[in-house]
Symmetry: C2
Subunit: 221 residues, 2 copies
């Protein structure tokens, strides 16, 4: 009974996500759904990505949080269009929440929209919002056992950013194991080792993302 309810919710969400996708396609908006545990570095990655790509693309951000607006305020300081979704207790953003946020933007003036999900390594991976791709962060203090423990997010993501490499000497993180187990779940996963704090390793991520956006733009009629 409960399982059926959950399945109906997911089906309804997928329909809304497809509508969002049509709207994004019509306006040429490439969308990333960014996910991770709490405190893995999502907002800092968004800030770094904006710095690197704002000259090339018109960027906008949707911030998903249970409550509060502190991440959205960080993005607004960069003079980037940002809308806050407060989920009011829900542990993820979904297609409908993103649909409700879209009237706050002029989609025809956006090339790249980043939706930053609620910090949670489980449920966000189940809910499409109309994105072109899911991107996840794993930070080194979380440990290398996370792919085996939370496989769905690794399975659904196109890119895995291993963040907080500046802490590698101080934590027990087996980088080889993390890579190996993540690729066993998802052999196509693009993996980047970075420190959003120092900026180390971010160039390949920016290059990959640019490649994705350009491929999307070329695929449009």
């Amino acid at each position: 009974m409960i399982i059926k309810t959950v399945k109906n919710i997911l089906d309804a969400n997928d329909r809304i996500a497809r509508d969002n996708r049509s709207l994004f396609d019509a306006n040429g908006v490439f969308v990333i759904n960014l996910m991770s545990s709490p405190g893995a570095g999502k907002t800092t990655l968004v800030e770094r990505t904006i710095e690197a790509l704002r000259a090339r693309y018109r960027i906008a951000v949707i911030e998903g949080d249970i409550q509060d607006t502190c991440d959205a305020e960080r993005i607004a300081r960069l003079d980037i269009p940002v809308t806050q979704i407060n989920t009011g207790g829900a542990c993820h953003i979904d297609g409908n929440m993103v649909r409700e946020a879209l009237p706050n933007f002029d989609l025809s003036g956006i090339d790249l929209l980043i939706t930053e999900n609620v910090g949670n390594l489980v449920c966000p991976a189940e809910f499409n919002v109309g994105e072109n791709c899911k991107v996840m962060i794993l930070s080194t203090p979380e440990g290398a056992d996370k792919p085996m423990k939370y496989p769905l997010m690794f399975h659904e993501s196109s890119a895995l950013i291993i963040n907080k490499m500046d802490l590698l000497d101080y934590v027990d993180f087996d980088l080889d194991k993390a890579r190996r187990d993540a690729l066993a779940i998802n052999p196509k996963l693009a993996i980047f080792t970075v420190s959003c704090k120092t900026g180390e390793g971010l160039a390949p991520w920016i290059q990959w993302l640019t490649g994705q956006v350009e491929a999307f733009r070329k695929s449009r009629p």
Copy 2:
């Protein structure tokens, strides 16, 4: 409609949790529901707590994970009774899952039962399992903004363990802000700053826990 379904699920869960609680009371079992983000150090805290209290109390553990059994294997190596709950995708354990696990234990031979929840700073706080108290971990690399962003867990917990103090010099963690914001949400919260890795700061936590268990034992007829 969806909200009603969720409310019904929570009500049904509370009924089962109360049944679990009656069973624990009848057998004199003190139960902790341990929660945190993925990788904050739950299993290591359980290991440290077992080391410190196994001479005094008969301890058992329920490990909640989406899939896999690696945490349960760590506990089994300590020769402590342990049962694995695999939630099969669910982002928390609930009263029914714990009820299903209980036949694996001889409750009359347990003084302290620790249920380690799925790594998630959101939903576990909504689902009682019949525990005497909820205990949460926040690790320093996650950042001091977590109380304001994930308030329910801080509100529901009796104790907050700030872990990975050994990393304090290498991360941007405002300890005063974390304490202040957590206490603003829950003035009764007992806060402990520890490193489960080095063992630093664990004695006050063990002392607090012992006090809770003893108070429970004295309250029994």
